[in-house]
Amino acid sequence: MARYFARRILSSLLLLVSVSILSFVLLEFAPGDFYETLRLNPRVSEATVNALRSQHGVNSSLPVRYFRWVHSVSKGEWGYSLAYDSPAAPILWTRAKNTLLLTGTAMILAWIIAIPFGTWGAARRGKAPDWFVRGTTSILLAIPDLVLALLLVLCAVRSGYFPAGGMVSFDFSEMSLWAKFRDLFRHLFLPCLCLAASSFPVLLSHTRTAVLEVLESPFITAARGYGIPVRRLLFRHALPAAANPLISLFGVSIGVLLSSSVLIEVIFGWPGLGQLLLEAILQRDFFLVIDSAMLATAFLVSGNLIADVLLYACDPRVRAN
């Protein structure tokens, strides 16, 4: 067991190093640099632009820049943001926390809804509840995230029930604890709903399929024969047996926590990593882009690792192998 996880951790580290090298190489091919737009300012000379490039090492060779970044990672700075003129780490952590709040809540919401509805749909296969579940899934899958997000923002603007964007009100710091909670909830509701609605159909379909497969197995027929009530049968016997694919999917859900909300964050003005990443890409603020890619990879690797641990804990067959 310990050897297996040590091997997994080692391969994850190697993956992270490979991703960092690949990110540097790929970004090397991106045309333009951070200081390119300064050339459009007629008041700024080419000499000043070049001096700024040299000062911040933009002109240095790829290996030099890579090792500088590695050195800065070792100091906990994670490179240097040219746009913010400061180490990248504090900028990233603040934004990553906001993203995790949004995506984490949306993920929990989506799973909480998907599991009972998926199980319910599977138990009533071919009947009205199943049609309802499948219909909802199809509709949500057909609506692009962008359209759904814009519709929700429009609803917020017209109705005035929810704020049209942002994370908290600007007088948040002056609010009582309860008012703060309410304010955060009101801001979180729509982007969270939008994110949950985009991942919910996938989770629901997987749950339904997995449970359906188990419901057709002989031990469930036997259990039915023993007169076990339907609810107990579904949630105590069928669902745990159908857990394996869902655990793997849960791992993926964790893995994409940092990278799944770029579009939603931009539309709802959520101050997360998505907005920062988009701006960094457009501005060629390379260290922020590389750090974001590294964080997303780290989450993906951790998600897979968590899924493996859960599978190990839940499935005796995995333990036996």
Binding site: E36, T37, V44, V266, F268, P271
Partner: protein, 548 residues
């Protein structure tokens, strides 16, 4: 400009599309940072965004020596920084020393270098400073605008340690930042907002002797998506919106009365869109197909025909919904001080364009395609910024207009920095649409654009072997206006530059978009201007008629 007497208090909520990146005036590169810095700092002589003229700021008066090389500025007494410490000549001397320091690479340093030499500043007494210029400089007074005066007491120790460039980042505690502007930093929340509070030591007063500013706070929210920015203004979450698109303006117009805001179309700003051809010297580069097409691009008749074939009025109508002006010269009608009213405006004339091309030896194939004298079909690509919807629409319309005269033009959208890379570095493009704008109406800021060896001479950045007579004349005129001190003579020189540009079309000017903004009706003294910061340039005078 004296405004209406206002009430104290209230919070104004504004939005910016990007986050400010720093609060250090020396190193700020982006517009948002400069907007925020503009609210927390002050300069010696200020350009009034409404009249476009200069006005006294921290310098209460100034004198120019008869030879135009020496400026003596008398500073206001009793002025204090936002942390309560007094301001005097030492702060001015330190500020200019810092801006001119080569090691800091301040983007504003160039402004203070005249004919390759830096201006010199000298303290005469605690409230008098003298600036010496290497040569007479026409726009000398305007140099002082936006050079934020820094507190010597706070920043000199950092300067000595070589840490000045890193000072005043976004995470610097607000009490360590001091300025002379109407507001000071209260709070910054990453990715969300920056809150400014009124500076209790601000030096300006209203006509009744009351200390300005009136507003208690300005909250600047980060809303990166333009549609979201429009919707949140409509929802009442923000009080002011700047840089509205024509489409956004039309959307908001419907709710103008119901939602208690007012929209302003203040006419064309200083920005203009233009089309230009790549006429860089590409002999040493393997760009054969472009080199061949340059034989067309270098012909005045060809450029004239293209200019004539483009229907600018249609661009104004369809792309900007009527909220822009068609342009035939590079100075927009918004720049009332410098626009040459004598420049004739043309009309879309495909027949005329065909005539010019025919006279230049071009002819048409039976299928209507234009063929050059060497029997090659005329075809080129037009690069434009993929992130700019208006430029994308313009490129498509130009494509259709050129088709009318048998030219196959291909619109090529490219991500902005990739496009700039091609224009400024690799020269791998045939034609491009771009927009240029700057923070001042004075012709001096355009030196780098029109002088043949200027860094923003975008259509031809390579070293020139031989200049055409009109180019030589433009160089001479631009350099002459730089040292001509009286306005009428300068205007005559710059009028001639405008005429030469119009006649020789190194760039084909297309349209000058209007400045469109919106604000809640209850905001007093709101007078949007064509210079940036369009809406908050008189922030100290703004007030809310109904306090929240």
């Amino acid at each position: 400009m004296l405004g209406e007497s206002g009430h104290y208090g209230g919070r104004l909520v504004i939005s910016e599309r990007t986050e400010p990146k720093t609060l250090n005036p020396l190193t700020a590169l982006d517009g948002t940072s400069r907007d925020i810095i503009g609210l927390i700092s002050a300069d010696l002589i200020h350009i009034n965004r409404s009249s476009l003229g200069t006005e006294a700021a921290l310098a209460k008066s100034w004198e120019m020596s008869p030879d135009g090389r020496r400026y003596t500025l008398r500073l206001r007494r009793g002025v204090r920084f936002s942390d309560g410490h007094p301001f005097d000549a030492d702060d001015v001397v330190f500020t200019f020393e810092a801006y001119l320091d080569e090691r800091l690479h301040s983007p504003q340093r160039e402004l203070l270098i005249i004919s390759g030499k830096p201006l010199r500043v000298q303290k005469l007494d605690a409230y008098t400073v003298r600036f010496e210029l290497p040569q007479p400089y026409a726009a000398a007074e305007r140099l002082f605008d936006s050079i934020a005066i820094l507190p010597c007491r706070l920043l000199k120790p950092l300067y000595k340690e070589g840490k000045l460039a890193d000072a005043w980042g976004l995470n610097t505690p607000p009490e360590q930042i001091a300025g002379l502007g109407p507001f000071r930093v209260k709070e910054y929340v990453s990715g969300q907002r920056i809150v400014l509070e009124s500076n209790p030591y601000y030096w300006k007063i209203d006509q009744h002797g009351n200390r300005l500013p009136y507003l208690r706070e300005i909250v600047c929210l980060l809303i990166s998506n333009p549609d979201a920015e429009t919707m949140r203004f409509e929802a009442g979450e923000t009080d002011v919106i700047s840089r509205l698109s024509a489409a956004g303006y039309s959307t908001l117009e419907k709710y103008e009365n119901a939602r208690g805001f007012r929209l302003y179309d203040i006419g064309p700003g200083l920005e203009y869109d233009f089309l230009f051809f790549n006429v860089n010297d590409l002999v040493s580069r393997p760009l054969g197909s472009i080199t061949y097409k340059q034989t067309w691009f270098r012909q005045l008749a060809f450029r004239r025909a293209i200019s004539m074939a483009i229907d600018r009025e249609a661009i104004v109508r369809l792309v900007y919904q009527g909220r822009a002006r068609a342009m035939w010269s590079h100075v927009t009608p918004g720049n009332k001080l410098w626009v040459n009213q004598e420049i004739p405006t043309g009309l879309h004339d495909a027949t005329g364009a065909r005539g010019i091309l025919r006279n230049a030896g071009f002819f048409w194939r039976s299928d209507g395609r234009l063929i050059d004298p060497a029997r090659k079909p005329v075809e080129f690509s037009i690069l434009h910024n993929a992130g700019n919807v208006q430029q994308m629409q313009m490129a498509t319309m130009i494509q259709a207009d050129l088709k009318e005269i048998g030219i196959e033009a291909h619109a090529v959208p490219l991500e902005f920095r990739s496009m700039l890379d091609r224009i400024f570095k690799t020269y791998e493009y045939e034609a491009a649409i771009m927009a240029l704008a700057d923070g001042d109406a004075d012709p001096n800021v355009e030196m780098n654009v029109w002088v043949s060896d200027g860094g923003t001479h975008v259509w031809d950045l390579t070293p020139k072997r031989k200049l055409e007579p009109w180019q030589e004349e433009v160089d001479r005129l631009m350099n002459e206006q730089l040292v001509t001190l009286d306005y009428p003579s300068r205007k005559r020189l710059y009028d001639r530059v405008q005429r030469l540009i119009w006649e020789n079309l190194p760039v084909i000017c297309l349209v000058g978009p209007d400045i469109l903004v919106g604000a809640k009706k209850r905001i007093g003294n709101f007078h949007p201007a064509i210079l940036r910061n369009h809406t908050l340039w008189n922030s100290e005078q703004l007030f809310l008629r109904q306090i929240q």
